[in-house]
């Protein structure tokens, strides 16, 4: 097993954990944590599987992931502003209907 395979497998675990988190978490902040983890998993995967021309890591893949990281933090900031607004207007920190609140 090579190092790259190790990172691919770890990224797969993170991806699965993120999917589980998005599905089960009710709290909006928890959902965002899980979504961010899915993002990180995809980024690690992209870089791990990209080729290594001339022994260096593919610069195009690195640039794509760098762009992705910045966009991810920006959209997280926007989503957090939305979550805070939802709480401010409705007093709730989840998206489910009031009667489903104690579902999970």
């Amino acid at each position: 097993m090579t190092s790259v395979t190790l990172y691919v497998l770890a990224a797969a675990v993170v991806f699965g954990a993120g999917v589980f988190g998005v599905l089960t978490a009710a709290h909006l902040l928890r959902k965002l944590l899980a979504l961010n983890m899915i993002g990180s998993a995809v980024f690690v995967l992209m870089l791990a599987v990209s080729g290594r021309p001339g022994g260096t890591t593919d610069p195009v893949a690195q640039a794509l992931v760098l762009t992705g990281i910045v966009i991810a933090v920006a959209s997280t900031a926007f989503a957090l502003a939305l979550a805070i607004r939802i709480h401010h207007d409705s007093g709730r920190v989840t998206l489910s209907a009031p009667e489903d609140d104690d579902d999970r």
Binding site: A11, S40, V65, V73, F78
Partner: protein, 322 residues
């Protein structure tokens, strides 16, 4: 088993188990902190995967800023009447099954892709082409070359995305105009020392990252984030605070990145280059400086969720231009 592989195994197992911990944890605050640690371990993975640029970005943005945003949102919710309660155990067989299934699918795709790519990638790949063309650019860092020369439209649009996100945040931000406010008393000796040491160091590091970025790891994004982090420290310690309107200098800083980028890109034919083809290394430096100012300002305002920031006391204006 050699040492390198052992280190990689440690990092891989480390961030995978931290991720599982984040989604199975029961106390949200602790899980946010775990998420920050997760980000730091991932940044080690970047370094091991041969990408120090991404390691710097992940440590500053992925772990640092995202964590700070999450913690401030947590506190804002708590102050707005939400009581943090431990999440009850989440048992959902379906969710576990879907999680395991997606992990397996991702692993299969990933392992297959690694097998297909092998150690040396196809000679006609974009990455190989970028490395080949690097010699003629005067830049030493291939990532900076891709971001600013070969695929600079992506980077320009990314700057626009940052602006759109900021406008969106302004639109939905809670009426709480003051945004994030300091809780730490300013006259505490430790706080003054922290601000006195951390902020100048951060500015220095940001400038270094920017200048080094053309030849070595670093660049406008990393530098801008470190600068924004210095601003976050200033906000949290009460040296500067959110304002309900933005001054002219702040607005200029916000659009400096896209404005400079568009101006040089559109004016490139004057220097005998194609539109968006940067006419020289000076253009790269100019755009990176402007982008760093815009990135730092945008990220800081996303943190405070306000239209502006200003000095808390009468020494106003000192930080107004950030």
């Amino acid at each position: 088993m050699n040492v390198e592989l052992a280190i990689d195994a440690l990092i891989a197992v480390g961030f995978a188990s931290l991720a599982v911990r984040v989604v199975t944890g029961r106390r949200l605050f602790a899980d946010i902190v775990t998420f920050v640690v997760f980000g730091l371990v991932v940044s080690l993975a970047w370094a091991r995967l041969g990408s120090p640029d991404l390691a710097l970005a992940e440590a500053a943005i992925g772990a640092g800023l995202t964590g700070a945003l999450m913690l401030v949102a947590y506190r804002t919710l708590a102050r707005g009447g939400w009581t943090p309660t431990p999440t009850e155990g989440r048992r959902s067989t379906v969710a576990v099954a879907i999680g395991v299934l997606s992990a397996t699918a991702v692993a299969a795709i990933g392992v297959a892709a690694v097998g297909a790519a092998g150690e040396g990638s196809a000679p006609d790949s974009a990455g190989a082409a970028a490395l080949e063309a690097l010699d003629g650019t005067g830049l030493g860092n291939p990532v900076t070359a891709v971001l600013l020369l070969f695929r600079n439209l992506d980077t320009l649009l990314e700057m626009f995305v940052l602006l759109v996100v900021l406008l969106g945040t302004w639109a939905v931000a809670t009426p709480l105009r003051t945004g994030v406010r300091a809780r730490v008393p300013r006259d505490t000796p430790l706080v003054a020392a922290l601000v006195g040491i951390v902020v100048p160091t951060a500015v220095l590091v940001a400038a270094h990252l920017l200048l080094a970025g053309t030849d070595r790891p670093g660049g406008a994004f990393q530098g801008g984030t470190v600068l924004a982090a210095a601003g976050v420290v200033l906000v949290l310690t009460g040296a500067i605070r959110a304002r309900s309107r933005s001054g002219l200098r702040l607005r200029i800083a916000l659009i400096a990145g896209v404005a400079t980028f568009v101006a040089i890109g559109a004016g490139a034919p004057l220097f005998g280059a194609e539109p968006m083809e940067l006419p020289g290394t000076w253009a790269v430096y100019l755009i990176e400086v402007a982008m760093m100012a815009s990135i730092a300002t945008t990220l800081l305002l996303l943190f405070t969720r306000s239209r502006g920031v200003g000095a808390t006391e009468a020494d106003a204006g000192a930080e107004g231009g950030r």
